[in-house]
């Protein structure tokens, strides 16, 4: 391998890892602070710059947590599979970090390099979904290697949930791929230049909502955090993890939240294209990250609001609501674009109206169908 290629790859990828690791620390602080405020608490506010009395709203908390995590004792349960217990957090982190390469973040210093960035690949979006799928294996590995019933239960729950929600996730991304005619992330970003975002249409909005819900489930965020439900399964698949391995899981979880929010921004929210902003390289990166943080703020807000779902509700929601709705959405989008081939305002308005009616009634009907049938409890053995 030529040295030039290697250095170019490093120059293109190392900043990604650094930026997102820093943002991870900031996000943990943001999440704790926001959740605390939602619950009428203050949240972390003591830790700041060491050896001074400056507390900086507790911004030193993530660093302090990190130092604590590193120096904590690493416990491997008796009877656990030591090798896989060690490998699981690493395997969780690697795909999470890898998929960051598929986000169309064009740093200004990469202009002069060889085109080594992964988002220039012809099938970047497919790669994104494929590599995200590896995360499932890591979760199972962690649950299985711990030799703990709760861990294994959490792992199995996680697998069932991730596999189910991957289908609506991919199907809602299909809308965008259909429209752009490419799986290339850079082309998808380019197709949305000038405020022409995909979310600004009935089918695009529906697809975005489905994508966002499925992304919440895919990253085990509340209200879909059954795999790590602390009140049911202690902590799910990472019950038996402590110290640095736990920190790796934590990092992987947040990095995958960044990655999937980044993909949502790429697919539906116009990537780095700001509304009415000039197309400068730095500005587009800032714009991208701001949009990612808006999505993360909504995730935190939802976490502070919604209670956790039951397992049957979770699976039913994926298979009976999201999947049919996303299939209907693909059909609607296809017909709408077929009808809109000529530039005609009346036809556009009509297709929009029809699409809104069809999508709304489908969602409403599916919601009614998935309504749980309440009946009187039957007592079999007690009278």
């Amino acid at each position: 391998m030529s040295l030039e290629l290697l250095t170019d790859i490093l120059i293109a990828t190392v900043p990604l890892a650094l930026i997102f690791s820093t943002l991870f620390a900031f996000t943990t602080w943001l999440e704790r602070k926001t959740l605390a405020r939602i619950q009428n608490r203050i949240g972390p506010n003591k830790v700041g710059i060491p050896c001074t009395r400056i507390s900086l709203f507790g911004l030193g908390q993530p660093a302090a947590d990190g130092i604590k995590m590193i120096f904590k004792e690493d416990i491997v349960p008796k009877g656990a599979d030591r090798l896989f217990h060690l490998l699981a957090p690493i395997l969780a982190l690697i795909p999470a970090m890898l998929v960051l390469c598929f986000l169309p973040l064009k740093f200004p210093w990469t202009e002069s390099l060889l085109p080594v960035q992964a988002f220039l690949l012809d099938s970047a979006v497919i790669f994104f979904f494929a590599i995200t799928g590896i995360n499932t294996i890591a979760v199972f590995m962690a649950g299985w290697a711990s030799r703990n019933k709760y861990s294994l239960l959490g792992g199995m729950r996680a697998i069932a949930q991730m596999v189910s929600y991957e289908i609506p996730l991919v199907l809602s991304a299909v809308i965008v791929v259909m429209r752009v005619g490419s799986l290339n992330a850079a082309e998808i970003a380019g197709a949305q230049a000038g405020g022409n975002w995909f979310i600004f249409s009935p089918w695009g909005l529906t697809a975005f909502v489905i994508f966002f819900i499925a992304a919440l489930a895919e990253t085990n965020r509340s209200p879909f955090d059954l795999p790590e439900a602390e009140s049911e399964l202690v902590a799910g698949y990472f019950t038996e993890y402590s110290g640095f391995k736990f920190a790796l899981f934590f990092l992987a979880e947040y990095i995958s939240i960044f990655a999937i929010s980044g993909l949502a921004v790429t697919l539906f929210l116009g990537a780095g294209n700001g509304p009415g902003l000039p197309n400068l390289p730095w500005l587009s990166i800032v714009c991208f990250l701001v949009k990612v943080f808006v999505l993360i703020a909504i995730m935190i807000w939802l976490r502070g609001t919604l209670p956790r779902l039951r397992v049957d509700q979770l699976m039913g929601f994926a298979w009976k609501f999201l999947l049919p709705l996303s299939i209907v959405n693909i059909l609607v989008a296809g017909f709408a674009w077929h009808a809109q081939q000529q530039e005609n305002t009346i036809i556009t308005v009509i297709t929009w109206l029809v699409a809104i009616i069809v999508l709304y009634s489908t969602a409403k009907g599916l919601n009614q169908l998935s309504r749980a049938k309440l009946k009187m409890r039957e007592y079999k053995y007690a009278e």
Partner: protein, 173 residues
């Protein structure tokens, strides 16, 4: 030169993964080794400039087949530890013999044409071309495949479904 190093590393990964997957007594370890094999093969596909197939390999084999195998293992036997039973089948010797024979047969074509005549093409197919192929000349195949997958889905669900007994007092099979 780079390609050669990558080829040797990736083929070593694939062969080791396959060997461990086939010989490991612990089934969960076997599945993890099989996943390593799939990953190595996906790297080889990338090396052959078939990036779409590499992505599909990861998506289908690691993301779906591996999970399915893990679920099947969890639903059937106790996997951890040594149960002390014989691992190989009764006719293992004849199986080994037949496998060796087939291996020799498979080696014949490369040996007959040694050294290899042609060099690799460097045409990189775009996913768009592939899509046009799938939608124009091969659309019937694609539809048949979709039908096959649906049938397999329904068949798998029916086959794996627990037998529902009408009488409640009989224990479930």
């Amino acid at each position: 030169m780079n390609g050669e190093i990558a080829f040797w590393i990736l083929s070593a990964i694939a062969v080791l993964g396959a060997l461990v997957a086939v010989r490991k007594r612990n089934l969960v370890h076997g599945v993890f080794a099989l996943l390593v094999f799939f990953a190595g093969l996906s790297g080889l596909f990338l090396l052959l400039l078939a990036e779409f197939i590499a992505a599909v390999q990861v998506l289908v084999y690691i993301g779906a087949v591996g999970i399915l195998l893990l679920f099947a293992i969890m639903l059937t036997e106790r996997v951890a530890g040594d149960d002390g039973r014989r691992m190989t089948s009764r006719g293992w010797f004849w199986g080994l013999l037949a496998a060796t024979a087939i291996f020799l047969v498979l080696l014949l074509p490369p040996i007959q044409q040694w050294p290899a005549p042609e060099a690799a093409q460097t045409v990189e197919p775009s996913v768009e071309q592939l899509g046009h192929k799938l939608m124009n000349p091969y659309v019937i195949t694609l539809e048949v495949l979709a039908l096959l997958l649906t049938a397999a889905l329904i068949g798998a669900v029916t086959a794996a479904q627990a037998v529902r007994l009408d009488k409640e007092d009989e224990p479930p099979v």
